[in-house]
């Protein structure tokens, strides 16, 4: 247990400091949105963004959340970039994370191609719509809706109780037509686990909403994909997490193209974010066994809530 003290204390202070900054320094961040940061050299922002995303990557893995959902509200609070570019970068951060994680999950049979393709088709269409709407909305409306969404995500994360192995007695007709079922080797149980799903039409409807929100705010949608797969459709938790990553790669690709065409992607912002976040998630995965993940998860939720509140205040012009 002593091994856990140092990293846990460090992470605790880092997160507490971020929450405190988000809540009590709103004016500094809003000032950055309205005027150019001529006084600071561009490369200082680049390095700061890389380092910031590196720590965000560590925290995201330990807290069990996707980096994308933390990236947009927090980076738009601390950095001088317009939220259009932050959302564009957020989509690419989530996309590159999903692309690099996807292959081993598919090979192991944890991510299910047929389940993902069925849901991603409809969700990717709505994510294009969400991106179009999001980029057309006035900035204060974006901040208000982002704030409300992030606060909602914090509540979902706090309250949702996942089910590792949901028991589905009878699959629904649509899932039978689409041949959505599977079997995977569960390392914890050390045996094969077969699964099937129900409530497919409800799941499809929910994925329309998820895709729209992901496109609108440039958020990775793991926070919503996983509960819908697991709690609504009845997919085992491991398969839900893995398949969510696959769905995310399709949805974010669709939305990213809208951001690219609308000129809302700047490599100068996106690339340090991607590199920092990817490096951070690798380190975070190594630290996973050395810290109290439950404590960190609660702090990450507090951090998200503070970022949501901060975005709401910005939306109200406070």
């Amino acid at each position: 247990m002593n091994q856990k003290v140092f990293p846990a204390t460090g992470t605790f202070f880092l997160l507490t400091m971020l929450v405190w900054l988000l809540l009590f320094f709103p004016t500094a961040a809003s000032a950055a949105q309205s005027q150019p940061a001529v006084q600071t050299a561009w490369w200082v922002w680049e390095i700061a963004l890389f380092v910031f995303c590196f720590f965000l990557g560590i925290v995201a893995v330990i807290g069990g959340v996707g980096g994308g959902v933390l990236f947009v509200p927090i980076v738009s609070s601390f950095f001088p970039f317009h939220i259009d570019f932050v959302r564009g970068a957020g989509l690419l951060v989530a996309l590159s994370g999903a692309l690099s994680a996807g292959s081993p999950l598919l090979k192991k049979g944890l991510a299910n191609l047929k389940l993902a393709l069925s849901m991603a088709l409809i969700a990717s269409i709505s994510s294009i719509g969400g991106a179009m709407v999001g980029l057309a909305m006035p900035e204060n409306v974006v901040q208000l809706s982002l704030g409300a969404t992030i606060l909602g995500i914090s509540v979902i994360m706090l309250l949702s109780k996942n089910s590792a192995y949901p028991d589905i007695s009878e699959p629904d007709t649509l899932s039978k037509i689409l041949h959505i079922y599977g079997i995977y080797y569960d390392e914890q149980l050390q045996k094969d686990v077969s699964w099937q799903i129900h409530r497919t039409p409800i799941g499809l409807l929910l994925f329309i909403v998820i895709g729209f929100m992901a496109g609108m705010f440039g958020l990775g949608a793991g926070w919503a994909n996983v509960p819908v797969f697991n709690l609504v459709l009845g997919v085992p938790l491991r398969v839900s997490v893995a398949t969510s990553i696959f769905v995310l790669s399709v949805n974010d690709t669709a939305a990213a193209w809208v951001y690219l065409h609308k000129g809302a992607v700047l490599p100068l912002i996106a690339v340090p974010s991607i590199a920092g976040m990817m490096l951070g998630t690798k380190i975070g995965a190594r630290l996973l066994t050395k810290v109290h993940t439950r404590v960190v998860r609660r702090l990450v939720i507090a951090l998200l809530a503070a970022a949501g509140l901060r975005a709401l205040l910005k939306g109200f012009g406070i």
Binding site: D84, S96, S103, K107, S124, S249, V258, H261, L266, L268
Partner: protein, 137 residues
């Protein structure tokens, strides 16, 4: 390798293509960025000029700074800023490549439902990539 028994042939092919294309994508993105920021190739807009305006909305930003967007960079690949942008475009195309590769496999397996779903999915992504709906270049 007991786990691999549960992944279908189509899924394994997708995973293999994804592994190669995404690794290449990350390498491209980082290399393109380094070429740009260290100005190893000439660029129409320097990072400092971008930083002066990155607080603006995307639409206003593009009126002030001639950086690439959509497909308008294709004829200018020798520029550092364009190379960096092109690498991001490639990363955004990885999923399309992987999906396109598995269509013939679904056809071969006579899986009509997933042949149609995958073709539709590729069409949706191609539609987004053309910029028709988003007023792209």
């Amino acid at each position: 390798m007991k786990e691999q028994l549960h992944a279908s042939r189509v899924q394994l092919t997708y995973a293999t293509v994804l592994s190669w294309t995404s690794t290449l994508g990350i390498i491209f993105v980082v290399a393109g960025y380094l070429v740009y920021v260290f100005q190893l190739l000439p660029a129409a807009v320097t990072p400092a000029e971008i930083a002066m305006q990155w607080h603006l909305r995307a639409s206003e930003f593009h009126k002030a700074v001639p950086v690439p967007s959509g497909w308008d960079w294709v004829s200018q690949l020798g520029r550092g800023d364009v190379l960096s942008y092109a690498s991001v475009v490639y990363l955004s195309s990885v999923t399309m490549i992987c999906l396109a590769v598995i269509i013939p496999l679904f056809i071969k397996e006579k899986d009509r439902i997933y042949t149609i779903i995958t073709i539709l999915q590729v069409l949706v992504l191609v539609f987004a990539a053309t910029g028709i709906i988003s007023g792209g270049h």
